[in-house]
Symmetry: C2
Subunit: 269 residues, 2 copies
């Protein structure tokens, strides 16, 4: 999906919610565990229920790899289900990959060509040749980790290089390798005011903002500091939406939760 199509979806729906699909077998509704493919069934119902209230889905690959071949098969089926039934939803493979050049190219092919994801999250530590291979695919996106929402972001990301935090250096340097049409950045919502600094460096890029909900960030703050003329935000929520309830009504409750966020988004736009 290209930038103008994504912006069209967001502006038409007045919504920039990305639902994180992180299925954990220990948290799935009990009645699903007897299904042939519980993870896929869970995802399928969550997708159907929440699609009207979001513009994007983001499966985190760890939650599929943890179940081996079965899990990877569930991931493939999940993305295929989205792409077949909701082709206007933006699919992010939250994989945080990054390796030397020829190896990153293998990852890019895996996620863009095989899995048909629109975007993949990329870890920047290895530098230019680990990131650039993800930028060589038409209408596909690299979403580079800038500032993450976890406690460990203080260890390196917030350390200063020449008086400026590493994450600002990472964002500025990585931005020079791509364009606002093939690159986005992950910026944790628990640090909403840091968005103001980031927006000075990359006023036009889209930001993927996790950390709303279970990780505890404020949507109003994110909008205050992060919105640009194209909206320029994808805000993700995983656990708060998909585990809103654990009974037979889990999908309905997930939809209610997504709708609540969607309404707040519409009011903030």
């Amino acid at each position: 999906m290209n930038r103008s199509d994504l912006i069209y979806q967001i502006k038409t729906k007045k919504n920039f919610l990305c639902v994180g699909l992180d299925p954990d077998m220990t948290k799935l509704p009990k009645h699903l565990v007897q299904e042939e493919d519980p993870i896929y069934e869970f995802n399928r119902k969550i997708i159907i229920a929440t699609a009207p209230f979001c513009v994007s889905f983001k499966p985190n690959t760890a939650f599929y790899e943890a179940y081996g071949l079965t899990g990877i098969a569930s991931l493939e089926k999940t993305i295929k289900f989205i792409k077949t039934n909701y082709p206007n939803h933006f699919v992010i493979a939250d994989a945080k990959r990054g390796d030397i050049g020829n190896t990153s190219t293998m990852y890019a092919k895996a996620f863009f060509n095989r899995l048909n994801a629109d975007a993949i999250t990329v870890a920047p530590y290895m530098g230019r040749d680990s990131v650039k291979p993800f930028l060589q695919f038409e209408n596909k996106w690299a979403i580079v980790l800038g500032l993450t929402s976890n406690e460990g972001s203080i260890d390196f990301q917030q350390q200063k290089i020449n008086g400026r935090e590493l994450y600002l250096n990472v964002i500025e340097t990585c931005a020079s390798w791509g364009t606002e049409n093939n690159m986005m950045f992950v910026v944790g919502a628990t640090k909403a005011q840091m968005l103001a600094e980031i927006r000075k460096i990359i006023p036009s890029h889209f930001l993927l903002v996790p950390g709303i909900g279970a990780q505890g960030g404020s949507l109003a703050d994110v909008c205050k500091y992060g919105l640009n003329k194209d909206v320029g935000l994808l805000v993700s929520s995983s656990r708060a939406v998909i585990y809103a309830a654990s009974g037979k009504d889990f999908a309905e409750k997930a939809a209610q939760e997504a709708k609540k966020v969607a309404e707040e988004m519409a009011s903030l736009l």
Copy 2:
């Protein structure tokens, strides 16, 4: 595998070679392509041929994920083959994973429990809670990216924080989260002299050194600056060994190449 068993293998064999298993379908010997599982067949023959001349195998997950479910199945079979037939060889899943705490735990389970790897390479950018979950498994190892051998290592790793390169900060900080019994570091062989600086910080840890061979580093330099009393090195070679030839004699040629490195290692110890 624990540290003393690894050291025993290395000292007994006078060898610290790790063979990288990075099977690329476009580079496999043509006669293998007709096999039901060409990647596994290739790996199996390479493993049998090179096992006498190495102490470790390192499949890079990108080369398996690129072929989807089939590729992941080949990876599972490959590790099972090693663990069944060569239980004293140390298996490193070169996956460069790292995510927020609960998600890193999922990756750790995937690679340690499901795949039965001894170690996984870990990307440090997200900090403490992204690395620590990999340290909670008995006789399993996190191998954290310190200084990588690719050109992009200049972009962030070699930038200075308070007058000292980021990679030195990363190594020192990460080392404080684990011990020499559950943590190693990736240090690129193209910068052998930087090993001296690194050894001041972590004199006892094992270092995984890629970049010998196709990426062009010198084994003598690596030993000069990197050896410690327990050897403390695993030096990996991938393309130079596994693609030494592309005909029916590929495994034999790979063995010759591995043997050449092994002999150099024995002479340097």
